[in-house]
């Protein structure tokens, strides 16, 4: 039962489906192996390592890619143990996932790298495991990490099979022309012989990363099936920055992969992107903690500290070369491009400075978050932050809460729309024809615009067939255009849709999960911009525009969005002495309306002796609170009402 999956899957590789249990590898001759720890004890590692003894042909650079929770980090733990990089104890759980949110959510946010020393058949190998972020929000980071590799372990959960992210990751590796070693994980708890998997030419490994079953054979395969990097020690230095972190005392620590040449302490290096020159203070390998070495050689992976003060000086994808020995920069460099924007405000303005410092600290380690100061009449001073994607935003928010104990109001995410200007005056003003609109208040009028553009993404959904109908309805409701649909096994379907990004930023993933009982998986990649009929929608209270609720929406969605905002406002606006008309309007046209009826009775019934003190206290507190209310016309709007309308809706 071999099924060809469609044109996109070809390129000479046979992709097929088969029952996983049919291909459980047979017994292999056990390789001879000396424990690596004997040759590189921790005492030795305190000395500066000489890395010249690892020739390119004994070096392998590889990565593990997997869908969330398919066991990538657990496999990494076992590899670290097997090679003696870390002691084998029961406590090794996701050793490379250092952040609390990574361990909690079972995702990798920040790439981690470990150099493993492995002795196989008398040869000492240097295996560089480059752990990649586990979500497509970070696909650029993943692609840079992969460009430092020659092969990947593609891990698939035996019970769950291929998921949307597996496909996305596979293509990333495939496009980078890497050797792919398929690994089926969790075979020990496989509930039923399930039908899985596309095949690659060579055999697949069935392992249990948790128990360590068959993991050693994976290590063998890394050596046998992944080629050594094609690099030259003799050429001038050419190093790829694939990650960077910030250390309070030492400045920026850049993770680098050497494509050519050698780098050592004292070298003068130049960033191809910024053209700034630095002196190298320290080089070393990650073991997985930093371990300084005398030098790093072509083909090797490690870290470098060179007096960079800001992570933006060591941008992912940048090329470093020796001063006065410029080289052709490595291809594929892009500056981080935020795809999702959201306002962030302290719950209480007195927390502003604390939050500011927390955001500064977090962005020191994450240059992909863009930060602009913003202020809202209702929510006070805050920021407009740009994120790579939704997960990135959630993770950032969660880290703020967990690591900095900051509680924030995060407004509904928006996407960067564009407008192609037709008005000569505006073009002169903006100095460009095509402008990006981040704040709805800057939305130019239709009369001054040739067209509006919205960002789109190519989404991949993999689902059991029974949910296909519902999912297709959901996608249609989100203005998505179907691009492809195919069965990937007997009962699972892969759907490809072109989505307007703003249609998936709020609650798409939750809807998808709930209507498929959690079975469907979703992933997406950037697909540029498309023309869109966008309109600016105002929200009015008794005829007065509420500035903080101005929204840019697609024409077809205006009614729905307008209705939802009006309803939410109705639920959260306290009654007043008069009727309040809540309206959503496009220009002069009212598209939705709700009414808040006036108070009929709100006077405390009893008021004698002891009640008087209580009542006066209550009244004064209310009067005090009223002073802080924002007035729209004569309507008092509490902050909570704005929060309710502006805040990310997670319960919908």
């Amino acid at each position: 039962m071999w099924t060809v999956l469609g044109p996109g899957w070809g390129r000479g590789h046979a992709l097929a489906l088969w029952a996983a249990r049919r291909r459980l590898p047979g017994p292999r001759p056990a390789p001879t192996r000396e424990p690596a720890a004997r040759r590189f004890s921790s005492a030795d590692l305190k000395e500066k390592l000489d890395m010249s003894g690892f020739p390119v042909e004994n070096t392998r650079n590889f990565s593990i890619i997997a869908h969330v929770d398919h066991g990538k980090s657990t496999l990494a733990d076992r590899l670290l143990e097997l090679t003696g990089t870390i002691d084998k104890t029961k406590n090794n759980k996701q050793v490379l996932d250092k952040l609390q949110v990574e361990r909690e959510r079972g995702i990798t946010v920040k790439a981690q790298t470990a150099s493993l020393f492995y002795n196989c058949e008398g040869k000492q190998y240097l295996l560089n495991l480059i752990d990649t972020p586990g979500h497509v929000d970070f696909s650029y980071e993943v692609s840079r990490s992969l460009s430092a590799c020659q092969g990947v372990l593609l891990v698939v959960d035996a019970n769950e099979g291929i998921q949307a992210q597996t496909v996305a990751n596979f293509f990333l590796a495939f496009e980078a022309q890497l050797s792919v070693i398929p690994v089926i994980n969790k075979v020990s708890i496989m509930r039923q012989p399930c039908y899985l998997l596309f095949s690659l030419p060579k055999s697949t490994f069935s392992i249990s990363a948790k128990l360590g079953t068959n993991v050693e054979s994976v290590l063998q395969a890394v050596i046998e099936r992944i080629p050594p990097p094609k690099v030259h020690r003799k050429n001038p230095l050419r190093a790829l920055v694939f990650d960077s972190t910030f250390d309070q005392y030492r400045g920026v620590i850049a993770n680098v992969a050497l494509f050519d040449g050698v780098v050592s302490k004292g070298d003068k290096i130049v960033s191809a992107h910024t053209q700034k020159t630095y002196e190298v203070n320290e080089v070393g390998i990650l073991n997985p903690n930093e371990q300084s070495t005398q030098k790093l050689y072509a083909g090797q992976v490690g870290y470098l500290i060179a007096g960079m003060k800001d992570v933006t000086e060591a941008q992912i994808g940048d090329t470093l070369y020796l001063h006065k020995q410029p080289v052709e920069p490595l291809p594929g460099f892009k500056s981080a491009k935020p795809m999702v924007f959201a306002g962030m405000y302290p719950i209480d303005q007195s927390e502003y400075n604390n939050l500011k410092s927390a955001i500064e600290k977090l962005t020191l380690n994450d240059s992909s978050v863009t930060v602009h100061r913003d202020s809202s009449l209702a929510l006070g001073a805050g920021w407009r932050l740009g994120f790579l994607g939704l997960l990135h935003m959630e993770v950032f928010n969660q880290r703020l809460e967990q690591e900095y104990n900051a509680s924030v109001i995060l407004t509904t995410p928006t996407v960067p729309y564009k407008a192609v200007l037709s008005s000569a005056k505006l073009i002169k003003e903006y100095r460009e024809k095509e402008i990006t609109i981040i704040n709805p208040a800057q939305f130019p009028d239709k009369s001054k615009v040739t067209e509006y553009l919205e960002p789109v993404v190519l989404g991949t959904i993999i689902t059991p067939d029974e949910y296909t109908g519902k999912i297709m309805m959901l996608c249609q409701a989100r203005r998505a255009v179907q691009k492809n649909m195919m069965f990937i096994d007997e009962n699972r379907v892969m759907l490809k849709y072109l989505f307007p990004l703003n249609e998936i930023v709020v609650d798409f993933y939750d809807s998808l999960k709930s209507l498929s009982s959690g079975y469907a998986s979703f992933d997406y990649e950037d697909a540029g911009y498309q023309t869109a009929e966008l309109v600016k929608m105002d929200v009015l209270l008794n005829g007065n525009i509420v500035e903080e609720l101005v929204t840019v929406v697609h024409k077809d969605k205006a009614h729905l969005v307008g209705k939802s905002i009006c309803e939410r406002l109705k639920d959260s606006l306290p009654r007043q002495l008069f009727e309040i008309a809540i309206q959503a309007a496009i220009g002069n046209k009212i598209i939705a309306r709700e009414t808040v009826k006036p108070y009929r009775k709100n006077v405390l019934a009893k008021c004698y002796g002891g009640d008087i003190t209580r009542k006066m206290k209550l009244l004064k507190r209310q009067a005090e609170g009223k002073k802080r209310l924002r007035k729209i016309g004569n309507i008092e709007v509490p902050k909570e009402a704005f929060i309710k309308v502006l805040k990310t809706q997670s319960d919908k």
Binding site: L577, R600, K601, N602, A605, G609, G610
Partner: protein, 442 residues
């Protein structure tokens, strides 16, 4: 059940004669001999109940046995101490509240009244009210209270529906309520008030109006309508929280209130305060004192008072609270002659705020004359005449500001708390502008 002392007997007899007289409305009545600073109302708190009502969060205790003699002694002592401290020369009214003061013996009531009459001038026609719960055999006991000097009854009838009474945790039935009302009217004609609650869980407008109509056929000249407020810590609150009972619907309550006040108006009642209705001039003078920010002394556990302790040489009004728990309170009274737990001096602005918030609860509102007594340096026109927000309320017809003073309209009264949220900050602002050198509230 002998009433101690000839003088008390004399006072009780005079009071009985006085209760037969219809009295005229007190407001705008003839000036009384003592200045306001030498007059006060007296509240006496009886902290015990037979059973806990499901809606009540008042300061009350369900004792196994009451040491009434000790309690009586302490109430008398504290009344004497506070009267001396206040320098009050005339007590205008006495109100026995609770708790369930009708569970106290008439002897205790008589003892307190006698002490008051001995310490100060308690005119024979002073209003002496007792809160009474309906019982199955009310007659003789109510008569004994009358003999002790009580001349007005406030009956906690609450509802004429047995199911609702059970929901409220009351010990009486609708039949008990009507019997007690009838007996009270015989003994205290023209001086009986009844409380009726509205806005109970699952209560509907029609049947509730039916209860009110029934009550109007049976009642005397005073009715109080109270909307149930769910108080944290009560059984009813918990039941609603747990979903065992539907939450009271504020819309329906508003409808009941509106329909109720209209029905009472048609029956000839004057709504002289948010919750209080009277005909034939049968207003409660005691409560009127609260709303007019007159002085009052609070005696008994947890009682509140507001008076100038002139007897101690002070001329600043204080808000006072007595110790809450009866046992502790008694110990303190025995040791120090009183159980005052908290004394808070009231600033001039604070007084004006109370004048405003309390005065507007009444139908006459705040007259210019009344305002002048508390804030001679700032007229009502000064405070509210120029405010844009106040003007809006006047234009909406919720509030009236004219030659008589400031008051709520018929439409404005049910939403007074919202009006106050505009008026109170306006008063504070005007006060600060007018007296910039003074500390706010000072």
């Amino acid at each position: 059940m002998a009433v101690p002392g000839a003088r008390a007997r004399g006072w009780a007899a005079a009071a009985r004669a006085a209760q037969r007289r219809r009295r005229e409305e007190r407001t705008g009545g003839p000036a009384r001999p003592e200045p306001a600073s030498r007059r006060a109302a007296l509240y006496v708190h009886w902290p015990y109940c037979e059973k806990r009502c499901s809606y009540c969060n008042f300061n009350k205790y369900i004792p196994r046995g009451v040491e009434e003699a000790a309690m009586r002694k302490c109430l008398v002592t504290e009344a004497q101490t506070l009267l001396r401290l206040s320098g009050v020369r005339r007590v205008e009214s006495v109100f026995f509240g609770g708790g369930t003061p009708s569970l106290a013996s008439p002897h205790t009531v008589a003892a307190v009244l006698e002490a008051v009459a001995q310490a100060t001038y308690l005119p024979a026609d002073s209003e002496v009210t007792l809160e009474a719960n309906p019982t199955s055999a009310p007659g003789s006991r109510l008569a004994a209270f009358g003999a002790a000097g009580v001349n007005r009854l406030s009956i906690g009838l609450q509802s004429l529906d047995d199911a609702e009474l059970r929901l409220l945790g009351r010990t009486h039935s609708a039949g008990d309520a009507l019997r007690t009302l009838a007996a009270a009217r015989r003994l205290f004609p023209g001086r009986v008030s009844v409380d009726l609650m509205l806005g109970l869980p699952a209560q509907h407008v029609g049947p509730w109006l039916g209860q009110l109509q029934e009550l109007l056929r049976r009642c005397d000249d005073h009715v109080s309508l109270y909307q149930l407020s769910l108080e944290r810590g009560t059984a009813l609150f918990a039941q609603v929280q747990q979903g065992a009972l539907p939450a009271p619907d504020p819309e329906l309550a508003a409808e009941m209130y509106q329909a109720g006040r209209e029905a009472l108006r048609e029956a000839g009642f004057r709504q002289y305060e948010v919750s209080n209705f009277a005909r034939n001039g049968a207003l409660s003078t005691h409560n009127w004192t609260y709303w007019q920010c007159g002085q009052y002394l609070g005696v008994g556990p947890g009682a509140h008072g507001r008076f100038v302790p002139q007897g101690a040489g002070s001329n600043t009004r204080e808000a006072r609270i007595q110790t809450l728990e009866p046992d502790n309170w008694m110990k303190e009274v025995m040791l120090f002659g009183h159980g005052t737990r908290k004394r808070t001096p009231m600033g001039r602005l604070e007084m004006l705020e109370e004048v405003l918030a309390m005065g507007l609860r009444t139908d006459v509102g705040i007259t210019h004359q009344h305002w002048q007594r508390f804030g001679p340096q700032l007229t009502l026109w000064d405070v509210f005449g120029t405010s844009k927000e106040v003007k809006e309320l006047l234009e909406r017809g919720l509030l009236l500001l004219d030659h008589r003073g400031l008051r709520c309209s018929w439409e404005g009264l049910p939403v007074l708390d919202s009006l106050l949220l505009t008026l109170l900050p306006q008063l504070q602002e005007a006060w600060q502008q007018r007296t910039p050198s003074l500390v706010p509230g000072g």
